[in-house]
């Protein structure tokens, strides 16, 4: 089957359109999270999504729509725990993450009957994405990307030097809250693409790959976006051709691209050392 033949199917068109937007979203936000040393917040919030998806299934509502407000509350809880209760950031993420999983397990075991649906959210199924979810993904992705571009300088300044950012009159608490809320939305949208278990991979890996070779902050974001889009599109197509789980293929492609970028960096450094 040719690639163009794949594109005739509506479910593949929906998967690719939503996948491209979500990849763009994850990679752009991923660079900010990585540089603010908040990579693990994506992982923690993904675990909260497990609980919120269980809640959505129990209430017989679309888990994506139920998850967005619940995960946003989870992200605010992490920030408040770190700020007010003097809990270290990673400990706060660990606590809320464990709470999310515990709630999910309790709901799933007490209600019963939807364990198979819950399993599909754990490992993702981009090919099952509905039209309303595609529209939601596009609208939320554009909203999040516009927010990032509006606060771009503030994010960059706070990521590089928080104290200087504060002394420049930037409200860094507000910036942290915005970043956490954007991450919540992104994590919920991403669970459809790669699943709850692999969400943090799509946030972290394109950013780490870009950091190997990109020069400059904007270029890093562009490079991370390109890497993420290529991995999602190629991963979706390859998984269809060889009949493998899409989420896992996307993550493997991201790892291969990281290795290529890393090898290029090492070789380039060696060549430069030899010519000097």
């Amino acid at each position: 089957m040719e690639f163009t033949d794949f594109l005739k199917y509506g479910f593949i068109q929906r998967a690719l359109v939503a996948g491209v937007f979500i990849a763009l979203l994850c990679s752009t936000l991923g660079v900010l999270l990585l540089l603010r040393r908040l990579s693990l917040i994506g992982d923690g919030l993904a675990h909260v999504t497990f609980g919120s998806v269980a809640l959505g299934l129990l209430l017989r509502q679309n888990p994506v729509f139920v998850s967005i407000p619940v995960v946003m509350l989870g992200s605010l809880a992490i920030l408040k725990l770190a700020e007010r209760a003097r809990v270290y950031g990673d400990a706060a993420i660990g606590m809320i993450s464990a709470l999310g999983i515990a709630v999910g397990v309790l709901l799933a075991s007490s209600a019963g009957g939807f364990n198979i649906d819950l399993f599909s959210y754990l490992f993702g199924n981009i090919l099952s994405i509905s039209e309303s979810e595609v529209i939601t993904s596009i609208v939320l992705s554009i909203t999040v990307l516009i927010t990032i571009s509006v606060f771009y300088d503030e994010f960059l300044s706070a990521s590089f030097d928080e104290e200087f950012a504060k002394a420049s009159g930037i409200n860094t608490e507000k910036i942290n809250t915005i970043l956490a809320l954007l991450t919540s939305v992104t994590v919920v949208l991403t669970m459809k693409v790669v699943g709850i278990m692999l969400t943090s991979a799509l946030l972290i890996m394109p950013a780490v790959t870009a950091l190997q070779i990109a020069r400059g902050f904007k270029r890093t974001m562009l490079f991370a976006s390109s890497t993420a889009i290529v991995s999602v599109v190629a991963g979706t197509v390859i998984s269809l051709v060889v009949n493998l789980p899409t989420g896992a293929v996307i993550v493997m492609l991201n790892f291969i691209m990281f290795m290529l970028a890393f090898s290029y960096k090492i070789s380039f450094s060696a060549i430069r050392r030899n010519t000097e």
Partner: protein
């Protein structure tokens, strides 16, 4: 008539019931160059943080250009070079010109388009710090001295009225340090920039600063360097020998 750029009145600061600053009062007239010195743990950085609204004082009042820092919206008039160059992330992907442009944030409203005047301001700061030839380099790939120049360029890109530097020469070799002090003196003389320099190097700062503020949780001395050298109170505080050493080094260097 001289105008106060900064006024600190009866400021105190407590951290977990430990007194860090007690009854601090002084003012910086616009154009002053104040050397802020004192032993480790004397509250120098805490004082800077209360001035910049990074820490809330337990008592007293700070005014910057006649306004409480909590409601100040003219942060572009203040340049700041923080202490912690050692904690700079060496893998941060931003280039030198991107870092310097961050200093413009206090003047711009959110991510408004970058105007030609913004680009020119960045170019001017890069040239002034003699780092325009490395503007495309990654910040993490530079030496400690070059990084310090980049961060100073970021602090002065708005041509602020008040420049606050917290131990900027800690990571620098003696030659780069001397050049740095000379450059600050030029900014003070030629651009009429008010400077507050936190340093341990009391001898060097006496060579350049117009006033000396010696802090040890409270103000031990505030006045000109000559007044410091002639002060009998300082003789009894430091001991005549130590005071003589500081002042002798100062005179010796000035003549040299």
């Amino acid at each position: 008539m001289p105008v106060d750029c900064l006024s600190v009145k009866k400021v105190s600061f407590r951290y977990n019931s430990v007194e860090v600053l007690s009854d601090i009062s002084f003012s910086a007239v616009c154009g002053d160059y104040i050397g802020l010195v004192g032993p480790n743990g004397s509250g120098k950085t805490t004082l800077i943080k209360t001035i910049l609204n990074l820490a809330k004082p337990s008592g007293g009042e700070v005014t910057l250009f006649g306004k409480n820092p909590a409601i100040l919206n003219e942060w572009h008039r203040v340049g700041y070079l923080p202490q912690r160059i050692a904690s700079l992330n060496p893998f941060f992907p931003a280039t030198v010109d991107e870092i310097v442009a961050l200093g413009l944030i206090s003047r711009r409203k959110l991510s408004t388009p970058i105007f030609r005047s913004d680009k020119e301001a960045v170019e001017r700061a890069l040239k002034l710090m003699d780092i325009d030839d490395i503007k495309g380099n990654l910040i993490g790939a530079l030496s400690g001295g070059q990084q310090q120049r980049v961060l100073l360029a970021r602090a002065i890109v708005n041509e602020p009225d008040l420049l606050i530097l917290d131990e900027p020469t800690t990571a620098l070799d003696p030659e780069t340090r001397d050049n740095f002090f000379h450059f600050l003196q030029e900014l003070n003389w030629e651009k009429k920039m008010t400077i507050i320099l936190v340093t341990h190097d009391i001898g060097s700062v006496g060579k350049y600063a117009s006033k000396l503020l010696y802090l040890d949780k409270r103000i031990i001395f505030f006045g000109s360097f000559n007044e410091f050298c002639l002060s009998e109170d300082m003789s009894s505080y430091f001991g005549e020998f130590s005071q003589h050493l500081i002042c002798h080094r100062h005179d010796y260097k000035r003549i040299g």
